[in-house]
Amino acid sequence: MKSFTVSKAVTALMLAGLVLLPLYSQVSGNIFILTLFTRIVILALAAASLNLIMGFGGMMSFGHAAYLGIGGYAVGMLAQEGVGSGWIQFPVALAASATYALVIGALSLRTRGVYFIMITLAFAQMAYYVASGLARYGGDDGLTVYKRSDFSGLINLGNRTQFYYLCLACLLGVIFLIWRIVNSRFGLVVQGLRSNEQRMQAIGFPAKRYQLVCFVISGTMCGLAGALLANNTDFVSPAVMYWTRSGDLMVMVILGGMGTLFGPIMGAVVFLLLEEFLSQITEYWALIMGPLLLLIVLFGRGGIMGMLGRAGRG
């Protein structure tokens, strides 16, 4: 039996909070908080998918926001062309993200370290400029999604509470999948490759094949976040793919704790809440946020989950 730990308690508290949030919003009449947390849950999903390759797989992708755009544009472009069904939009968003990940991964995984970071960044920037050039779909100005994905009455994405729970279910489903994956044969190989690639090759594992499959799984998951995000904002623009957004996702993962199951959720919640509240206090919120994050990364090894783990032992 595993014993009670601080990090588990905090995680449970956070999850309970996320589940009960719509209730609070209803009772207090605070609609804004539900909108804010829908965004947080969606970006937590994106961060969790990045954590799969970055935290567990050791692949420092600096272009993860590209999938947010691809998933979002799949929804937006189909809606524009009169295909409003979510049953089509979402599978297309996932398939497009998976295809992009397959191509980008096959090319990027030939490199290692800094070069891998730079090449994933370069591809994401390319995706950004391609989207900016799509005149038919708004180009630089972005594309308004006039109607949210239609799931034939099963669930109404226009209803704030229903949409929030859909996003939360997606997040928890993805976390569950990641949990299974990292403990599976496949997951052990991927983590082994992070730890010592030469050794893994020597005992008989072709590194790239496993890393590429992991890269594709992660990209597909993030494409889901993209499709949800477009529905949430009723809008998609090249800006969701900009490199600073990829950087935000990395910060969320590192802040929460790389290679932990719930770290990315923690990271997303803390990062976006800080951003929200600091920006209400001052226009120069980034001046406070930057050093704050720096301190946590410098002195809190293993991110928030790491600090909670130490607090539990100490």
């Binding site: 052990l188 730890s195 090759q201 594992f205």
Partner: protein, 255 residues
């Protein structure tokens, strides 16, 4: 004549102007323990790296049980029954001893593209890992992170990992490196046992160990095999004596 298990023919590897492997040919028969010795910088590790596929030769060939493996990548050679240990311990430090060994077993037990079932609950893999750990005398340390193990224990894990892949041929790159006297003796005893089950190519600096263990010894100097034979013949060989007395100049002009 039976086909040798490992055949190396006229292998050449250069690094710029330096010829690190100079026309090396050698055979390892099934069941043999073949030691490769030589002074520092003789090209022993370069040779091993070409056998394992971490380094490509410029000329020559390597075959395992009659099959040409000269240009196969490391992971394919491993699947054909070639396992190695590293001179500088190379393990998954943030994994437990059992996980390290179980992964080697997993590589040889069906596909690893399984995404859902808990691999640590696969009895076959766990049993294989424990058997291999038991073989090297570390069963009691199975659940300890490798980063928490001593150097000597890590050397033993290296061996357990190699064993878990059920190899035909084991390439051991200085398994005694950095071990204390007692640990070295333990390792020699262990290798005495293992050689009954598997063919071994042993690269080692520890001469008493080599002469105690080897069926045949090849001596490498400046990338060239200057002598090959049983321990008694090597001990009596004049060229070898000169090489080990430090007068390598004579040897480079030999033959």
């Amino acid at each position: 004549m039976a086909e040798p298990l490992l055949r190396v023919e006229k292998l050449v590897r250069r690094f710029g102007g330096i010829i690190a492997t100079d026309n090396v040919s050698l055979d390892v028969a099934a069941g043999e323990l073949h030691a490769i010795i030589g002074p520092n910088g003789a090209g022993k590790t370069t040779l091993i790296s070409q056998l394992t596929g971490h380094l490509a030769p410029h000329a020559g060939s390597v075959s395992l049980a009659g099959r040409d493996i000269t240009y196969l990548p490391a992971y394919r050679r491993c699947a054909l029954g070639l396992a190695r240990s590293f001179q500088i311990t190379s393990l998954l430090l943030d994994f437990t001893a059992a996980d390290n060994v179980a992964l080697a077993a997993q590589a040889h037990a069906g596909t690893s593209f399984r995404f859902f079932a808990d691999a640590r609950k696969e009895k076959g893999l766990r049993d294989a890992a424990h058997a291999a750990l038991d073989r090297v005398g570390l069963a009691h340390r199975a659940d300890v992170l490798v980063s928490k193990l001593s150097h000597g224990e890590r050397r033993q894990i290296e061996l357990a990992v190699a064993l878990a892949s059920k190899p035909k041929l084991l390439l051991l790159d200085e398994p005694m490196a950095g071990l204390g006297v007692t640990e070295s003796q333990g390792m020699v005893k262990l290798l005495q046992e293992l050689r009954k089950e598997v063919s071994i190519v042993l690269v080692e600096h520890d001469m008493p160990a080599v002469f105690a263990l080897a069926d045949r010894i090849s001596v490498l100097v400046y990338g060239r095999v200057i002598a090959s034979g049983d321990p008694a013949a090597i001990r009596a060989n004049e060229d070898v004596k000169r090489a080990y007395l430090g007068d390598q100049h004579v040897v480079t002009h030999h033959g």
